[in-house]
Each structure stands twice: as structure tokens, then as C-alpha cells.
């Protein structure tokens, strides 16, 4: 485990814990954000029959770095009417909310920030901070568009947490664990052991579960789209109506914080979906390390598969964003309360019955 390694290195459990908490940020979130922003622009470009950034570096690979340098140089504007304290806290809080979720996400069998048993529960609780940050930003900006955006965002995230939780509940009920690490370990072996295909046991249960797991996956994917404010649910920042919603008034690095939080969030939800339904860090075809008798290779392979799955779902989010129009706020609520929640609820019951068999 990386924690043990760090503990031996520093000789202090506090320092080791501190370092391991920083690790996802520096080893993963920042590089990922750099990559994802570029990916987003390239995906958008190619979907829209153009090339995307091409000037900075080979095929624009340095574009995000140039953007960040620009953002760092920007003046940090705080308008006179802003509520300074909350205005300054809000981006940090939003970022913390999405960053803290990474603590329990197992990147591989040895790379896990905190091995707590309540992993999923913790994520659901801690991402609630994002809502507080968004509301705070909207209120402190003292701008009508920001406020409307923040209100919508809060309403949306709270409504869509319910179907998410119902699906999570069905998984928890079926497996009896809330730990993301245990969930990943359960799905070891080949891809037919993934929960999307009914889980590892080879029984009648597995085959009965498959359709309902698919439904569960679709529900949770749709709701996570809404939770991270992506199209077709990007109403809080609908630029055609609300300019850019709750972060209209932000500039410079504070804006970059929101931006970073958005991309970190995108990966976090994709990682959770991948962990719950697609085997987490488990390879779909067995490990090269096993066949070559090189056990040190396995964690690296696991890391690769985890990132691959996560980025695949992030790519699907981008794909949807550049294809679909945006729902209206009442239709968004209707989609959650009238369709997703009842379906998720029935799905939960059915999965419960099947588990009892």
C-alpha cells in the first residue's frame, strides 16, 4: 500500500496521511483537468466539423497550459456589491467538495486515499458541499443571473441525488458493502463478474439481475450528469439564458477553481459509476502481470484500467454535451421526480427480491 510506504518514509502517521491526501490532487486531478479541458475542446471540435485548438504546441496540446497561465495573470475582480467573505470562500468550498470525494476512490488495489467502510456514503455526504459552495457563490455575487443559476443548481442537484442514492442503495443491498474498495475487489476476474452483468456469482440470480442492473446504470448515469451540471442538464450555467450562472461574476483563479471543480467532479462521478458497475480498477481480461509472473505490474495495470474507464465515461459526457440541447428547468424537475425516481424505486424493489431468492 502506498500509505505504508509513505509511513515508512516519513515515520509519522499524520504526515503520511497528509501526503496521501495530496496525492490524488497532484498526481491525478490537476493533470486530469489539463487533459480533460483539451479533450473537451478537441471532442467538441471534431464533433462540430472543425479541428479545435491547433496553434499552441503540436495539435494544440499545450493549449490548456497557456489558458492557465492566462487565468493566473488575470486580475481577481471583486465587485463592490459582492459579499466578500462568502464570495471568496465559495470557489474553495466547491472545489473541496469535489476534491474530497477522491479520498475514497480506489485508483488501484494499492492506491487508495482512505480505506473506510462507508466509502459511498462518504462521497454522497461530501459532495453535498458543492451545493453549499454554489449557493454561496450565487448569493454572494449579488447578481440576479448568478442567483437564479445558483437556485436552479441547488434544486437540481438535490433532486437528482435521490435517484442516484436509490441506485446506490440497490447496489449496497445486493453486495452488503458500502466500501468502494470492497466493491472493486468483489468484481475481480473477468468482465462477466462486473455488477453491470449481475456480479461475480454464477447462478440464476446473476442472469435475472442483468436487465435491472442495466436500468440502474442508466439511471445513475443520467442523474450524475445532472449532478455535475452537464448537458442536457446544464441549466445552472445555461449561457443562453443566465450568461454563465453562478460563476458569472468570477474571474481569474477563482473562476479556475470552479472550472477545476467541474472537471474533477466529472471524473469523480464517472469513477463511481465505473467502480459500482464496471469493475472499478479490475481489468476486463485478466492481468498481464499474472501471465508474465510480474506481480508489480498488476497495480499499474489496474491504474490504467481505472483511468481508462473513468475517461471513457467522461468522454461520453462530452459527447452528449455537444449533441443534445438543454432541458427547461421544469422539464428537468419532471424528469427526476416523475420518471427517474419511480423507476429507480421499482428497480430497487426488484433487485431486492432477486437478491432474496
Amino acid at each position: 500500500m502506498i500509505y505504508d510506504f509513505l509511513y515508512n518514509l516519513t515515520g509519522s502517521s499524520v504526515l503520511a496521511g497528509f501526503l496521501i491526501a495530496l496525492l490524488p490532487l497532484f498526481a491525478f486531478i490537476l493533470p486530469f483537468a489539463l487533459f480533460a479541458v483539451l479533450l473537451e475542446r478537441k471532442v467538441a471540435g471534431h464533433i462540430q466539423d472543425r479541428l479545435g485548438p491547433m496553434r499552441v504546441g503540436y495539435h494544440g496540446i499545450l493549449q490548456t497550459i497557456a489558458d492557465i497561465i492566462k487565468l493566473v495573470q488575470k486580475e481577481d475582480i471583486i465587485a463592490k456589491e459582492n459579499d466578500k467573505l462568502f464570495f471568496n470562500i465559495a470557489p474553495v468550498l466547491t472545489f473541496v467538495g469535489s476534491y474530497a470525494a477522491f479520498a475514497v476512490i480506489p485508483f488501484s488495489s494499492i492506491f487508495l486515499g482512505a480505506k473506510i467502510d462507508l466509502g459511498i456514503f462518504y462521497i454522497i455526504a461530501v459532495t453535498g458541499l458543492v451545493v453549499a459552495g454554489i449557493l454561496m457563490a450565487g448569493w454572494a455575487s449579488n447578481n440576479k443571473y448568478s442567483l437564479l443559476g445558483a437556485m436552479r443548481s441547488a434544486a437540481q442537484i438535490i433532486s437528482y441525488e435521490i435517484p442516484t442514492i436509490l441506485v446506490v442503495l440497490s447496489i449496497v443491498m445486493m453486495t452488503g458493502t458500502m466500501s468502494l474498495f470492497d466493491l472493486s475487489e468483489n468484481q475481480t476476474g473477468y468482465f462477466w463478474n462486473w455488477y453491470i452483468l449481475g456480479g461475480p456469482s454464477m447462478s440464476l440470480q446473476k442472469f435475472l439481475l442483468i436487465p435491472f442492473m442495466l436500468i440502474g446504470f442508466l439511471i445513475i448515469y443520467i442523474s450524475t450528469l445532472a449532478e455535475v451540471n452537464r448537458t442536457p442538464f446544464d441549466i445552472p450555467e445555461a449561457e443562453s439564458e443566465l450568461v454563465s450562472g453562478y460563476h458569472t461574476e468570477y474571474s481569474g483563479m477563482k473562476f479556475a477553481m470552479f472550472f477545476l471543480a467541474e472537471y474533477a467532479n466529472m471524473f469523480a462521478v464517472s469513477a463511481i459509476v465505473a467502480t459500482m458497475f464496471f469493475g472499478g480498477y479490475q481489468s476486463p481480461f485478466g492481468y498481464l502481470g499474472n501471465s508474465l509472473n510480474m506481480s508489480w505490474l498488476i497495480p499499474l495495470e489496474q491504474f490504467f484500467w481505472f483511468i481508462f474507464k473513468g475517461i471513457f465515461f467522461v468522454f461520453v459526457q462530452m459527447w452528449l454535451r455537444w449533441t443534445l440541447p438543454r432541458l427547461r428547468v421544469d422539464q428537468l424537475m419532471a424528469a427526476s421526480w416523475k420518471y427517474l425516481i419511480p423507476i429507480a424505486f421499482v428497480n430497487l424493489l426488484i433487485i431486492g427480491f432477486i437478491t432474496l431468492i
Binding site: K144, E239, S240, L324, P325, R328, Q331
Partner: protein
């Protein structure tokens, strides 16, 4: 005890991503429900009408371009037809055909912008760029014809500034051939998208009665169900020689006259425009396009109202001549200006997001609203 709620006044614009220019909408909101919309205009006022009074007749043409800058050919055509009638000039066949081709290409270009930006307003950004890609090719056609891409000064009194480029016919045919499948793709991507239909069907329903009372023209009026198109009903130029349909709103996805109908009428009109262009190119006669341009333009005392079907509706010019070389008065009936009046009527009771959907479906060009 009842809770007292206050209405909020929200200024949308003049600098807002989707007011299509410098329009300011003063929205009165009860929560997110619209109770009143007051459009404030005039941010782009350039004294077009007053300006005309000190210009000679041909000098006015470039200024007409700048009104509805997305449909400059149509603007020129309306003005030029009026002055030609005052002068009593008959222009050669070839000129008429080229004018029709240009006006119809311009209609496609203009509708592409309308549809694309409408998609962007609803949140679908990709169709917007697809539309602009196709519009770009039309602008290229205009560029090889007269050198300008947006404001052409191409249609002159009595003729045209240039004849067609030798490649024009070939390139136009090529464009039409490639544009047809693109239009189909656009329909698949946007027009029949479930979310798009949910956002636009049954939103901002404009009953025919109200439309007529407000003097609405163009695709908006047709979407409400009236088959009224000046190209057929008060035909001008050589439009009577072509075979085309007038699409009207059918309420296919909701109610007749909703935003989706207004959008879809524009899509269908592009198909009809393609038909007209194809026929016009096939029949294009030979001739000299500058032969009928008069040396001295000095219409006799009198006045005329000439109107053409622009992409946004009936564009009318009331031209008064006092016998001198410059018009005594030019009054423009701008379709965008008239159509914009309906905003309050259409938006009341809808949500903020619908204002955008409705404004996009009205399809205004601020250059024309303010002049």
C-alpha cells in the same frame, strides 16, 4: 397569513448572449414566471430613413444592406424594385433571374443563421456550427460574384453591379447537391430531437387572429397557419415563373403557431428555395446585366410602396420622390420591428428559459429593428 412575494425586474441585455444583438428586454418575473416583457430598442439606431434624404437614389443601396444584414440581397431587391417602378424601367430577363437566385440563396443563408442560433439558444451548439459551415459556402458564392460577403451593393437600379462569375453556376449546383444531405442531417440532429421538441412545441403559441392583428408577416405568420407569401400573393420579379410551395405551420408536434412550427417553417422554406434556385439556374437566359442601368436617375414626382418577401417577413419601402436626384422620404416597414411587438403577448406566463426560445423563434435582426 399569506406570504407576500415581490416581483423581480430582470434586465436581459443589451449585452446578453442570446438577445441576438443589442436588444434589451425588461422582464418582470414572479419567481421564474414572466408577467411582463418590455422590449427596449434603439441601441443600433443609425438614422437610415433620415440619411436617405440627403443621398442620391443609388447611394441609398449600400445603406439598405445594413438594415437586415443577414439578408442584404433581399433589402436591395425591395428598394431597387421600388425605384425602378418609379422610373418605369424594364430590366433584362437575365437580371431578374440572377436577382431571384441571389435572393433565394440569401434566404437560405439567413434561415441557416436563424435556425443555427435558435439551436444554440436552446443549448445545442453543434447544429449552430453545422449551419454556419453551410452558410459559409453561400457567402463564398456571393464573394466570387461581387467581392463582398455580407453587404453587397450588388443589385443596382436597372441592373446588377457584376455579371455572374463563370464558375458560379457550377459551384451553386455543387452547393445544392451537398446541402441537401446536410439539411437532412440537421433535421435528425435538431429538428426531431426529443429534447428540442419538448423545449419548443407548445411554447409561445401565436394564434392566427393575434398574428394578423399585430401585422406579423413572414415565416411567423405562415407558422400560424396562413398561406401568405408575397412571392406568390403579390408576385414581383420573375417569381411567377417558378414552381414552389408555401410551407405553413401544421402543429405537427404541438399546437399550430408554436415555436417549433416557426422553426420548422424555416427549414421547409429552405427546401423550397433550393427548388427555386435549381429552376432559375436551369432557365438562366443570356444577356447584358448592365445595359438597362440609367445614366441619370431622376424619378418623376410621385410615390410608391414596394414590398418583397424577405426571410423575416414583408419588407416594404415607401419612397416619395420630389423629382430631384435624391428621395424626399424613404419609410421602411421592417418585418423584424413589427414581429418584435408580439414578445409580450407570447411570453406572458412562460418561464425565463422560454423567453429565449420565443425570441429565437421570432428571429429578429437588430440592424433592421432599429435602422
Amino acid at each position: 397569513m399569506s406570504i407576500k412575494t415581490e416581483e423581480m425586474v430582470l434586465n436581459m441585455g443589451p449585452q446578453h448572449p442570446s438577445t441576438h444583438g443589442v436588444l434589451r428586454l425588461e422582464l418582470t418575473l414572479d419567481g421564474e414566471i414572466i408577467t411582463k416583457v418590455v422590449p427596449h430598442i434603439g441601441y443600433l439606431h443609425r438614422c437610415f430613413e433620415k440619411h436617405c434624404e440627403v443621398m442620391t437614389y443609388p447611394q441609398v443601396i449600400p445603406y439598405t444592406d445594413r438594415m437586415d444584414y443577414l439578408a442584404a440581397m433581399g433589402n436591395e431587391l425591395g428598394y431597387v424594385i421600388g425605384v425602378e417602378k418609379l422610373l418605369g424601367i424594364q430590366v433584362p430577363e437575365r437580371v431578374e433571374y440572377i436577382r431571384v437566385i441571389m435572393a433565394e440563396l440569401q434566404r437560405i443563408a439567413s434561415h441557416l443563421v436563424a435556425i443555427g442560433t435558435y439551436g444554440a439558444d436552446i443549448g445545442a451548439f453543434t447544429p449552430f456550427l453545422y449551419c454556419f459551415r453551410d452558410r459559409e459556402r453561400i457567402l463564398n458564392l456571393f464573394e466570387i460574384t461581387c467581392g463582398a460577403r455580407l453587404l453587397y451593393n450588388y443589385i443596382w437600379i436597372g441592373g446588377l453591379s457584376h455579371d455572374l462569375h463563370p464558375d458560379f453556376v457550377r459551384l451553386t449546383k455543387e452547393f445544392i447537391r451537398e446541402f441537401k444531405p446536410n439539411l437532412k442531417e440537421l433535421n435528425n440532429l435538431l429538428t426531431f430531437n426529443k429534447i428540442f421538441i419538448d423545449r419548443t412545441a407548445n411554447v409561445g403559441i401565436l394564434p392566427l387572429e393575434t398574428a394578423i392583428n399585430f401585422g406579423i408577416t413572414g415565416p411567423m405568420l405562415r407558422a400560424s397557419g396562413l398561406k401568405w407569401d408575397l412571392r406568390k400573393d403579390d408576385t414581383y420579379s420573375v417569381y411567377d415563373k417558378f414552381d414552389f410551395e408555401i410551407p405553413v405551420g401544421s402543429g405537427k408536434m404541438g399546437t399550430v403557431g408554436d415555436s417549433w412550427d416557426r422553426y420548422y417553417v424555416r427549414v421547409l422554406e429552405m427546401e423550397e428555395s433550393i427548388k427555386i434556385i435549381e429552376q432559375a439556374i436551369a432557365q438562366l437566359p443570356d444577356g447584358d446585366v448592365t445595359s438597362a442601368i440609367p445614366k441619370k436617375i431622376k424619378p418623376p414626382v410621385g410615390h410608391i410602396y414596394s414590398r418583397v418577401e424577405n426571410p423575416r417577413g414583408e419588407l416594404g419601402y415607401f419612397i416619395v420622390s420630389d423629382g430631384s436626384t435624391s428621395p424626399f422620404r424613404v419609410k421602411v416597414r421592417a418585418p423584424s420591428f413589427v414581429n418584435l411587438q408580439i414578445m409580450d403577448e407570447l411570453c406572458r406566463g412562460h418561464l425565463v428559459a422560454d423567453v429565449i426560445a420565443i425570441l429565437g423563434s421570432v428571429d429578429i435582426v437588430l440592424g433592421e429593428v432599429d435602422r
